[in-house]
Amino acid sequence: MSDSDVHESFLTVSGYRYLKIASVILIAATAAYVLAPDPGEPHGGTWQGYGLGGVAGAILLFLSWFGIRRRRYATSVVPLRTWMSAHVYLGLALIPIALLHSDGDLAFNFHGLFFFIVLGAVVTGLVGLLFYVRNPPLIASNRGGMQLDTMISEISGIDQDLRALASKLPNEVNQHLRTAEAETAISTRRGGAVNTQSTAAARAKSAIETLDLPGYSPHLLSATRKAVSLLVRKDVLVQRARREVRLRTQLRVWLFLHVPFAVAAVAGLAVHVFSVFFYW
């Protein structure tokens, strides 16, 4: 068994088959555009115009079918990652083909709007692709084998320990700890501004270090050290948990734009085709 068979990413499915297919379509479309005689004025009535429009329309329909296909769990034999691969590469080819189809002529009318709707779907898709490729490894390395809910329960455990410890420490230390505890809280509502949050633990640490620590009894000193190390640990966990939430949110949030754009694009296609044939 070769390494690639173990887990096959959607980008590399069948040795980049869909990248190759999309490239061939794009090259063929460019060739058709270049070879076409210039009709002089834009009217779209050429075989290249209809041909490229047909290809772009077919790709658009194929891309939007993904939304339905994704939910057909029982009936299809082809794995979804294969569809995903085709979706990504053909989607990337769509805008260049659409531009060739329109000869770069984007007027201030419905057809121009339609182009920007499609562009919106493709660009949001591109953002999604970026997140899909970039985020999973980041999440994996960020969590270091720890699940988000474990992080959060450890954070609240540290909070309890810190509070218990701080109550036994001199006021000067206690004060710093309490401020830092509040400033590193996981909820932003309590935590204050972003820069206060991110530096809270470090500030408390250095503030405590400037205190007259050598004058402390060994018992107090070790309790203080323990409190500081707990604070630092909490800070690390809070940063990690936030980062995970951010990365996970990114993986979902783009869909709230991508899907409406896609639905609008299909509707736009219908209007575009209808108006071209009846009113042009």
């Binding site: 887990h7 959607f10 994704r70 029982a74 034999v77 082809v78 979804l80 990652r81 999973p136 994996a140």
Partner: protein, 787 residues
């Protein structure tokens, strides 16, 4: 003088009496107590009674079906009355003398009774094992528990480590302070769910254990217990001793009946018509070797028919058996069974009735020359015996060299032992008649017939040694070697041997998997993982050096152990064995060197995956965290293809080296869930999937038995939203079944879908992947390099 006196009013005796009454045979039913069916009467209140074997029709004048203790007893009491059974209660039989036509039955406190025939249907439970210590006759000691709710706020000591003791202790623990007194510190004899239940109650401090304990004496308000730590006095209000039952041998022998051996649990031998060696004295039910209620009920009917001279009465299962034999219409059931017992050595020792019953669960195949019996890598786990003809085992490259198994041989037993796929294709070498026995039947027979188990195990050892260790050595020599070998069992985590030990034996792994570990700089490093068919410690036999590494059982393992001394003895006569083994050893060490040069984190990845059950799994869902976008399309796909109930929890479960093992079925080689399924609803498909059939009764045993927590109890339903609504608002599970009973659900690997598991198919990024043990070393190696 009665035509027949029936001793015992349990299922067998009562059924016989009812039939005698219906047939107007003069009869008397003797019952020791003052009520019918004492054994069932003594069942815990509300205990469900199951009517197994399901294939066997009921043929009697008393009704019998699944139900609670109370229903069964009520039906029987009505039947006894309607039939007009002549019962004498409180009639304890002390002896039976005489012969056919003139038996004399002595009872306590009454005149002797005379009868032409006697039916012994007294079962085993009338002969409970009793405590034998001072004070055992005190009133606080009892041997049964009728209604656990009867007792509250008492201190109760339950004695015993079996199912009855555990069930009693668990039922009492709700309202009482319960101690369980057990001779050892574990409950190995108990069914796994019972064992789990008592262990968890002990861990939680609800039940107090008295382990490795013996009862020294009983006082009116306490029990004196001998324990390793010394003698202890445990004050208590009640002592319930559930320490088993045995055949009332003394009594039965005094009636003139002989036993086949001296074993305390041995049962008397009876003919096909239930007649003992004393003509006219019949034995039915548990005492005759049939512990199931349905069998006893049928036997009660049959024994009266036989006695009345209707010897041609076909047993209740005759029609079913005729159906089984439909592929070979020229054989009658009786001839076939007689020949089966005679021709197949492993069946020689079997009681003919038992064989009959087993055939009911088996399948008869007629094969033409060249037909395939099963294919290599099939997951079927039945055992075949050759009734007629011969088969070929496709083990080598050259069809000419295929070993041939002749009439009387058995094959396919490895599936039973190792739980792995079929090792080789088997085809018919000539026209053949084969009998296929399902795994459960074979396991039952192996437990019931020690000779069958021994023969099968011995043969399995020979075949394993031949197949994996000494393929070129003559079978008779291997047989000689096998004689000296020992089969050893290791618990999960136990050491087969430790690094640095003197090597005195080698192991061939039959079942489970073994990890080879080495101590490097104070850390245990796993060098390799070995599935069945591999061997460890062979250096001991070749060079006699100390062990170079430790071998540890990853899951419960069985190995064939070859000792150095006996090995040397045989090798002296057959030097070719040593040559073969040395050659194998060289080949192996080369592989080891290659593997260890690829070390890195490899070993810890292996360890992680082993802990997650890959050591015993056959197909495991792994998620690559560097690809997973957390879209949960896998869980949606699973729910959508399984009636709205997802069998997979993507987010739960541990991760290591970016491999995430979600909570999902591993399809174990020996599925833990299968072990205690009352309706036998959990099955393994030929292609390996372990799935749950509709016959699930929702008892939850499988859920408790699964060490990986992948089985849930749920109601079937579906997603009731269409595409657009799902898109906007998500899917909504909706319970569609009218049946509100929860059933066990687990991954069935989408056995009915053409494309395979929906979770893997519906992953948009390729993160979800199912692996078999063969693949996972590749994953470990890849991850080891990355980690």
């Amino acid at each position: 003088m009665f035509d027949v006196v029936i001793v015992g009013s349990g299922p067998g005796g009562l059924s016989a009496a009812c039939h005698a009454a219906t047939r107007q045979v003069s009869h008397l039913l003797l019952e020791k107590t003052n009520h019918l069916s004492d054994t069932i009467y003594k069942f815990q209140k509300g205990k469900p009674v199951m009517s197994t074997p399901t294939d066997l029709p009921v043929r009697a004048d008393i009704p019998f079906g699944d139900g609670k203790r109370e229903q069964v007893l009520a039906h029987w009491a009505t039947a006894a009355e309607t039939c007009g059974v002549n019962i004498q209660f409180n009639a304890q039989v002390t002896g039976i003398t005489g012969q056919k036509g003139a038996f004399r039955i002595d009872i306590v406190g009454g005149a002797p009774i005379e009868a032409e025939h006697v039916v012994l249907a007294c079962g085993l439970q009338g002969n409970l094992n009793k405590l034998r210590c001072d004070g055992a006759d005190l009133p606080l000691v009892q041997y049964q528990l009728d209604d656990p709710d009867e007792y509250e706020h008492e201190h109760i000591v339950v004695i015993g480590g079996g199912d009855a003791a555990i069930e009693n202790a668990v039922a009492l623990a709700g309202h009482n302070t319960v101690y369980i007194l057990n001779r050892s510190d574990e409950f190995a004899r108990a069914k796994p769910p019972n064992e789990a239940a008592i262990k968890s109650l002990i861990d939680r401090g609800v039940i107090r254990p008295l382990f490795n304990a013996d009862t020294a004496a009983i006082e009116p308000d306490a029990i004196i217990v001998e324990m390793p730590s010394g003698t202890q006095r445990v004050p208590c209000d009640r002592i319930i001793a559930r320490i088993g039952a045995a055949p009332p041998r003394q009594f039965v022998e005094n009636c003139g009946v002989t036993f086949p051996n001296d074993d305390r649990m041995a049962l008397p031998e009876v003919s096909g018509h239930y007649e003992s060696n004393v003509p006219g004295l019949y034995i039915i039910g548990a005492l005759g070797g049939y512990p199931l209620i349905k069998q006893a009920v049928n036997q009660g009917y049959e024994v009266i028919e036989y006695m009345a001279g209707n010897t041609s009465l076909a047993p209740a299962d005759q029609d079913k058996l005729n159906e089984k034999l439909s592929p070979i219409p020229d054989w009658s059931v009786d001839d076939f069974l007689a020949n089966l017992r005679e021709r197949i050595p492993i069946f020689n020792e079997m009681n003919p009735l038992m064989l009959r019953e087993s055939l009911l669960e088996g399948t008869v195949h007629r094969m033409s020359k060249g037909d395939i019996v099963f294919e290599r890598n099939d997951y079927t786990n039945s055992v075949f015996v050759i009734f007629e003809g011969a088969v070929r085992v496709h083990v080598s490259e050259n069809p000419e060299e295929y070993p041939v198994l002749e009439q009387g041989a058995f094959f396919g037993e490895l599936g039973l032992i190792s739980g792995r796929r079929r090792g080789a294709t088997v085809s018919a070498a000539s026209d053949a008649i084969l009998v296929e026995m399902p795994r459960r039947t074979m396991l039952k027979l192996r437990a019931a017939v020690p000779a069958l188990k021994d023969t099968m195990n011995r043969e399995a050892v020979v075949r394993q040694l031949q197949a994996h260790l000494l393929p070129n050595i003559d079978q008779n020599v291997v047989r000689e070697l096998a004689q000296e070998a020992q089969v050893k069992k290791y618990a999960k985590g136990e050491l087969l041997f430790a690094e640095g030990d003197d090597g005195d034996c080698m192991h061939l792994i039959m079942r489970g998997s073994v990890a080879i570990q080495k101590d490097t700089g104070g850390r245990e490093v796993t060098l390799s993982y070995l599935p069945p068919g591999n061997y460890v410690g062979e250096m001991a036999l070749i060079s006699g050096e100390p062990r170079g590494a430790s071998a540890r059982a990853v899951v419960e393992c069985k190995t064939i152990c070859l000792f150095k001394d006996s090995f040397e003895k045989i090798v002296d006569q057959h030097p070719e064995i040593r040559r073969d083994l040395e050659w194998l050893y060289e080949k192996r060490s080369e592989e080891t060197v290659r593997a260890s040069s690829q070390q890195g984190q490899h070993d810890s990845v292996v360890e992680f995956l082993m802990d997650q059950g890959l050591g015993e799994g056959t197909d495991i869902l792994l998620i690559d965290e560097t690809l997973c976008v957390g879209c949960d399309n896998c869980t949606s796909a699973c729910a959508s293809t399984h009636g709205g109930v997802c069998h997979l929890d993507r987010n739960a479960g541990p991760s290591y080296a970016n491999i995430h093992v979600p909570t999902s079925c591993r399809h174990c080689e020996h599925p833990h869930c299968m072990t205690e399924c009352p309706p036998d609803a959990i099955r393994r498909a030929e292609s390996g999937e372990v799935y749950i059939q509709d016959s699930c009764i929702g008892c939850g045993n499988c859920q408790r038995n699964c060490p990986y927590g992948v089985i849930q109890m749920a109601q079937p339903g579906s997603n009731d939203r269409g595409f657009l609504m799902s898109l906007l608002f998500g899917e909504r599970p909706h319970v569609t079944s009218d049946d509100d009973r929860k059933r066990a659900v687990k991954c069935d690997m989408c056995i009915n879908l053409p494309g395979g598991p929906a979770c893997v198919r519906s992953c948009p990024t390729g993160a979800a992947h199912r692996v078999s043990p063969e693949d996972f070393m590749a994953i470990a190696t890849k991850r080891g390099r990355l980690a």
